[in-house]
């Protein structure tokens, strides 16, 4: 299924897409060398990796399986709180926290997936929102463990095999390594039989069932696959910021994650990465606009959806009819064609 590369000198496994991916990876690896001593910029890049993990997970749930998960930030929060409590209370090493966060969020995903099996897509998004709100309520009121609105400060630095990750450069490469592992893993999964089943469910559930796909099993699987990276991202944010508070994981955060995935392009893992990088980077770029920032972001979201409804990397087929693309094309043809070649009365879309 992999097409032959355009560069015959390269080994066989380097297809065009993988070539671009490796190129991007190479750029990302050498990037810190050009940034110099800007701590803030390195921190933003670390945040991009964390958000990329979240977006990758949500892409599996929403982009590949078509389930509108509007409570993704709650799984992120579960991961963060598990990591923080394990590190602060039980003095566990980072890797234990990371595994526990991923497992905890995955377990939560498994539990949430079960009521979600019964309902259609919009009711599903309401259930996930309800779950996220319940998570907020529990976190804000379970004083013994989460310290409620005060949050959990003082999470120690990451230590792996006697190496302390106490500066952004080390964290950057650690986060990059984790992101690459998860990306490659998810990419293999979505390009396998599992991924094709998920896409079939997204495109037509009844048809998928008729093809012999176990819809219930694959929906639960998608939820688990999508929430594990969210839990891992939670552990990373806990150790990066060294503080965990409930406000990081509210509904706004879930909506922003949904935005990343949709603007990046549903059904495309690179789209999730681009969406995350775009959103985090863009938020920092227009920070100087102060209170106009959210409005400018809204205008850009609207314009992007009107002119490119499928998102940056998504496929046109998924977006359906609509958007201004056809309007612009028709206007362009009208202006740049002589009356003789102008098509007579084109049929509507």
């Amino acid at each position: 299924m992999a097409t032959r590369s355009r560069f015959p000198a390269l080994p066989r496994w380097v297809t065009d897409r993988r070539f671009i991916g490796l190129l991007v990876l190479a750029v990302v690896i050498v990037l810190p060398a050009f940034i110099g001593h800007s701590g803030i910029l390195m921190r933003v890049l670390c945040l991009i990796f964390i958000n990329a993990l979240l977006a990758l997970g949500l892409m599996v749930i929403t982009g590949y399986t078509g389930m509108l998960n509007m409570g993704h930030a709650a799984f992120y929060g579960i991961g963060a709180y598990i990591a923080a409590v394990l590190a602060l209370r039980f003095h566990q090493p980072f890797l234990t926290c990371l595994v526990a966060s991923g497992a905890g969020a995955g377990l939560a995903g498994l539990i949430i997936a079960i009521p979600c099996l019964k309902v259609g897509s919009d009711f599903l998004s309401l259930i996930t929102i309800a779950f996220a709100e319940l998570f907020q309520t529990v976190v804000l009121n379970w004083m013994d463990v989460t310290r409620g609105p005060m949050g959990l400060p003082g999470i120690p630095n990451i230590v792996i095999a006697n190496v302390t990750f106490d500066n952004y450069y080390r964290l950057y490469y650690l986060f990059l390594a984790i992101a690459v592992v998860i990306y490659v893993g998810l990419s293999n999964i979505v390009n396998s039989r599992i991924g094709r089943s998920l896409k079939a469910i997204r495109d037509d559930e009844i048809c998928a069932r008729a093809q012999g796909i176990d819809v219930r099993y694959y929906k639960v699987l998608a939820f688990v696959l999508g929430t594990i990276p969210a839990g891992i991202a939670g552990a990373l944010i806990a150790f990066l910021v060294q503080f965990v508070g409930a406000a990081t994981f509210n509904l706004d955060a879930s909506l922003i994650l949904m935005n990343m995935v949709i603007l990046g392009g549903l059904g495309s893992l690179p789209g999730a990465l681009i969406g995350a990088a775009f959103f985090v980077g863009f938020t920092e770029l227009i920070r100087f606009l102060n209170i106009y920032r959210i409005g400018v972001g809204g205008v850009i979201m609207v314009l992007l959806m009107l002119f490119r409804p499928q998102g940056i990397m998504g496929s046109r087929a998924f977006a359906g009819v609509g958007g201004f693309e056809n309007v612009i094309r028709r206007w362009w043809q009208k202006r740049h064609s002589s009356p003789r070649t102008r098509p007579a009365k084109t049929a509507g879309p």
Partner: protein, 295 residues
Amino acid sequence: MGQSLQYFFQQLLNGLSIGSIYAMIAVGYSMVYSILYMINFAHGDIYIFGTFIAFALWKAGLPIPAVVVLACLAGALVGLVVERTVYRPVRFANRIVPMITALGVAMVLRTISQVIWGAETLPFLQLIPNTTISIGGLRIFSQQVLVVGTSLVCMVAFTLIIEKTKLGKATQCIMQDINLSRIMGIQVDTIIPLIYGLGGFMGVVGGILFASYYNAISINLGLLGTLKAWAAAMLGGVGSFYSPFLGGLILGVAEAMAGAYLGPAYKDAVGYLVIVAVLLFRPTGLFGKPRIEKV
């Protein structure tokens, strides 16, 4: 009447008042949803924008009836404009596309409100003087009578519009099949904006009652309103006109009871638990008709 029973009825009354406000906001939301199956994230911000306009008009010194009517018309106008500019171009695109444009519009409206009126909570006008009526030990506030009464009147008017007028019949046709309605000569592109406008109108009525009931207005009520409207619409189910109304009432009562007996911190959580519980047993909402999928 026993002390605890009296407390119960008092809370029931509070719940009914807040529930009928939710219902007002949910009705417009549910109308649009049942036609286009669109998750309208801008609904809450449209109604709170209209409520802010009411606030500005009140500050400008207009009499209260004029304030209410003008603000509701302004809300309807905002709904119309938003439909025309950002929903119609992507109406037949994947459902997720208008959802995101709605979210974008919500962010723009929120920013406009914030720039003009600031992010703080502001005191809102009192529609009628605050008095209490006592019936058998039960204290009823004049505000509660106003809220429940207005929403009942609006619901009856709304039902009459949908059931009796040509606009309402056209709307019902569009709900069944939008393309077939177009073939039958229904002006789909006129009816749908009108429904958005009607939703905005009802939303602002609800918003003014809400702000007047709590004597406060803030831009943060926008997203909250969207969520409550959505929750009420889904709880009631899609397919009939009274279902979002009943859904709003049930949500309001559930929240008031949770706030009274478990503590205010658990108010929202219990509301959502009720929704999840209902959806587990009735996946299409309490009064919803299942949407038949054809292959």
